[in-house]
Amino acid sequence: MTSASAPFLSVQDLSVTFPTEDGRVQAVDGVSFSVERGKTLAVVGESGSGKSVTAQAIMGLLDRRLSSVTGHAWLEGRDLVAMDDDEVRRERGSRMAMIFQDPMSSLHPFYRIGAQLSEAVLVHQKVSKQAAREQALEMLNRVGIPDPRTRIDNYPHQLSGGMRQRVMIAMALINSPALLIADEPTTALDVTVQAQILELIGNLQQEYDTAVIMITHDLGIVADIADDVAVMYGGRIVESGSVDDIFYRPQMPYTLGLLASVPRLDQVRAERLDPIPGNPPSPISLPPGCVFQPRCAYSDRVADHACEGVRPELVDIGGGHAVRCHLDGGQRLAIATDVLDALAGSGA
C-alpha cells in the first residue's frame, strides 16, 4: 500500500485559526506528526489544547468560511488540506472515518440504524441495497451487537449508550477505512463498557490494518493502546515520542505535571497530589513565548527570561522523541528524575 519512505498519514505544520469578535483564535499552531497503518497515535491534552480541532482539520470537518487551515495533511501522498470539499467528502467515510464522544452526533434519531449503516455503504460503494444491508448486518455482528437481525431495525433511542457507540463504530468502519480518528470515544461510557469498546477498536484495527489517531485526556487509555504519543498544550505539540518515551522518559515540564496530577488506581499516592498550578491558557491570548511558561515551575532556570519572550521549537532529542522547551537537556533530565523519583517514592 504505502511506499517504504513516505508515512501513511503525514501531517505537516498544520495550523488552524478562527477569526472571532474577540480577535484571532489560534486553535492549532504548527502541528506535525505521522502515523503508519496498523499503528495508534494518541493525541493527549486538556480542554482548549487544540487536539479536537486538529482532528477536524484533517477530516475536513471545519467550515472553510469560518476558519483558516494552513499546512498539509498527506494521506498516501494526497494533501487533504488542499482538497476541495467534495473531494474530502469522498475520502471521508471510505478511506478515513471518525468517531466521536457522543454517538448521537453521528446517528440520525429518525432513521433505523440499518438504514443509516446501509446508506454509508451505498454512498461509497456500487452495490445493491440488499448487499448493503447484508454488509450492515455483518458489521453489527462484528462490533458485538447481540441479536443483530432484530437490532438492525431499531432506532438509535432503543439502544443503550454502549450499543450506540458500537453502532457508530460500525458505521465508521463499514467501508474499512485505512485511517480512523477517534475523538474521546469512551469518555461518556462506564469503565467496563470503555474496556469493551477499546478492545473492539483494537481488534478491528488489527483486522483492517487501520491507522488510528486516538484523541483523549485519559493517560490510562494512552498507556493501554498507543504506540506513539503527541502531548498538546495551547495549540502546539509540546512533547512527542513513543509511548515509553512519554511515560518513562518524559522531559517537558507539562508532561511531567500531567503524570504527577493523575491519581492512580494501583497505588496510593501521597495524601496530596502535586498538580500543575493555574489554568490552561485561553486560545485568544496565548503567551508570546512558551505557552506553558505561566504555569511552569522551572522557567526561572532559563537565562534572559527566554520562556516569556521567545517561542521554543519542537526539537528532536533522539529516536523520534521531541520536546518543545528552553531548558537544556541536562536541566530537563534533572527535573524529570526528581519528579519521577518523587512519584515512584510516593507509590511505594
Binding site: E46, P146, G220, D224, P263, D266, P275
Partner: protein, 389 residues
C-alpha cells in the same frame, strides 16, 4: 441487611434505605405499573472527618443515594440519621436548621450556580438563608472563604460566567463549607474538570477536611479518584452495595467479582504495568432496575455465578477486618489457572501473575530511569476460603 460496623458518633447513618420511583402507564388515568428500584436496601455510615467513597457505573443508584440521604429525594423506606437525629420523615420546615450540618457539591459547576447572582451573593446565601451573622459581617466572611478555597477575594462582585470550570467548582465548594457543615455530599465533583484542575480540587477538599473536620460522602465513577480521596469505599451495583471496605483493603483484595471486573477495566497510566494486567471483561449491559435479576443482582453478568446466585440474595458479610461483601462466592479462592466462565459460556484462564523479587524490581526501576513498577496481581489464595456464616 447486616449491621454495618459503625462508631456510635457517626455523622451520617443510613439503614436499609430504599428509593423507588414509580413507573406510570400513559393515558388519562395513569396507573403505577412498576417501580424503578434506584436504591434498594443500602446501609452505610460516615464517621466525623471521614471520606466514604461511593462508586459504581451509571445507573447503579449512587447519585440517588447521595441525594436521598440529604432528603433532596424522598426515601421509600429505611432510616437516615444525620448527626444523631432521624431525618427520614421530617418536613421541609423541620429540615431547614439541619441543612447547616449537611451540604452538597455538584458535578456541573456551570449549572450549580445562578448566572445572575454575583459570587458574593452565591457564597453568602447560606448565611442569609440560615439567618447566621458571622462576626465581622457576611462580606468579610465570604471573602475569607474565597481566599480559603483559592479564589481572589477581590472578585466578590463578579458573575459565575467570568470564571473557569475549576474556579466555579471552588465557588460551589466555598458555598458548601460556609456554615461549617459536618458532612458534604460530593456528587462527581471533579469529573467535569481537566486532569490538572481535578488534582487541585481534590487537594482543596482534602485541606478543608483537615482544617474543619468535615466528612464527605464522595460519589464518583472514577475509581482512581476515589482511591486518592477516600478512607473507606462502597461499591454499588443496581441499587445495592455489593462491597464496602477500608480503601486499601478494597483496592488490594477486592472480594466481589464485580469489584474485580471494575478495577481490572480501568486502564493504568503506565504502559508496562497495563500490558501485564489481568483483565476481566464483563459482557452485556446493566439490567433494568425495574425488573432486577432474582437472587444476586449481579448474577446475569457474573463469571462465577452458580445456581445458588439466581435463587438466594447474598447478605453483606464481614470477611476481612471492616471489609464486607455481598457475594456467595467471594474471590478469596481465586487461584492461578482458575477457569473463568463468561455468561455466554466463554472460557478464559487466569494466567500466573508475575511475582518478582524486590531486588529485581528495583534494578528495573533504576535501569529504565524511574517509573517501572511491579505488576504482580494481588490475588489472595489464602487457606481460609470458608467465610463465617
Amino acid at each position: 441487611m447486616t449491621d454495618i460496623p459503625a462508631t456510635d458518633d457517626a455523622v451520617l447513618r443510613v439503614t436499609d434505605l430504599r428509593t423507588h420511583f414509580p413507573v406510570r402507564s400513559r393515558g388519562v388515568f395513569p396507573k403505577t405499573i412498576g417501580q424503578v428500584k434506584a436504591v434498594d436496601g443500602v446501609s452505610l455510615s460516615v464517621a466525623p472527618g471521614e471520606t466514604l467513597g461511593l462508586v459504581g457505573e451509571s445507573g447503579c443508584g449512587k447519585s440517588t443515594t447521595g441525594r436521598t440521604v440529604l432528603r433532596l429525594i424522598a426515601p421509600t423506606s429505611g432510616t437516615i440519621e444525620l448527626d444523631g437525629t432521624d431525618i427520614t420523615r421530617m418536613s421541609a420546615k423541620q429540615l431547614v436548621p439541619l441543612r447547616r450540618k449537611a451540604q452538597m457539591i455538584f458535578q456541573d459547576p456551570y449549572n450549580a450556580l445562578n448566572p445572575r447572582h454575583t459570587v458574593g451573593t452565591i457564597i453568602g446565601a447560606p448565611f442569609e438563608v440560615q439567618s447566621v451573622s458571622p462576626p465581622g459581617g457576611v462580606r468579610a466572611a465570604v471573602q475569607d472563604l474565597m481566599a480559603r478555597v483559592g479564589l481572589n477575594p477581590e472578585h466578590y462582585n463578579r458573575y459565575p460566567s467570568e470564571f473557569s470550570g475549576g474556579q466555579r467548582q471552588r465557588i460551589g465548594i466555598a458555598r458548601a463549607v460556609a456554615l461549617r457543615p459536618k458532612i458534604i455530599v460530593c456528587d462527581e465533583p471533579v469529573s467535569a474538570l481537566d486532569v490538572s484542575i481535578q488534582a487541585q480540587i481534590m487537594n482543596l477538599l482534602k485541606d478543608l477536611q483537615d482544617d474543619f473536620g468535615v466528612a464527605y460522602l464522595f460519589v464518583a465513577h472514577d475509581l482512581s479518584v476515589v482511591r486518592q480521596i477516600s478512607h473507606r469505599v462502597a461499591v454499588m451495583y443496581l441499587g445495592h452495595i455489593v462491597e464496602l471496605a477500608p480503601r486499601d483493603s478494597l483496592y488490594s483484595k477486592p472480594l466481589h467479582p464485580y469489584t474485580h471486573a471494575l478495577l481490572s477495566a480501568v486502564p493504568l497510566p503506565d504502559p508496562r504495568a497495563q500490558a501485564n494486567r489481568e483483565q476481566i471483561r464483563l459482557s452485556g449491559d446493566l439490567p433494568s432496575p425495574i425488573n432486577p435479576p432474582s437472587g444476586c443482582v449481579f448474577h446475569t453478568r457474573c463469571f462465577r455465578a452458580e445456581d445458588r446466585c439466581k435463587a438466594e440474595v447474598p447478605e453483606l458479610r464481614e470477611l476481612l477486618p471492616g471489609h464486607t461483601v455481598a457475594c456467595h462466592f467471594p474471590m478469596f479462592d481465586l487461584e492461578v489457572g482458575t477457569v473463568i466462565r463468561g455468561p455466554q459460556g466463554e472460557v478464559s484462564e487466569l494466567d500466573a501473575p508475575e511475582v518478582r523479587p524486590p531486588s529485581e524490581v528495583i534494578a528495573d526501576v533504576v535501569e529504565s530511569g524511574g517509573l517501572a513498577r511491579a505488576t504482580g496481581v494481588d490475588y489472595v489464595t489464602g487457606p481460609d476460603a470458608t467465610p463465617p456464616d
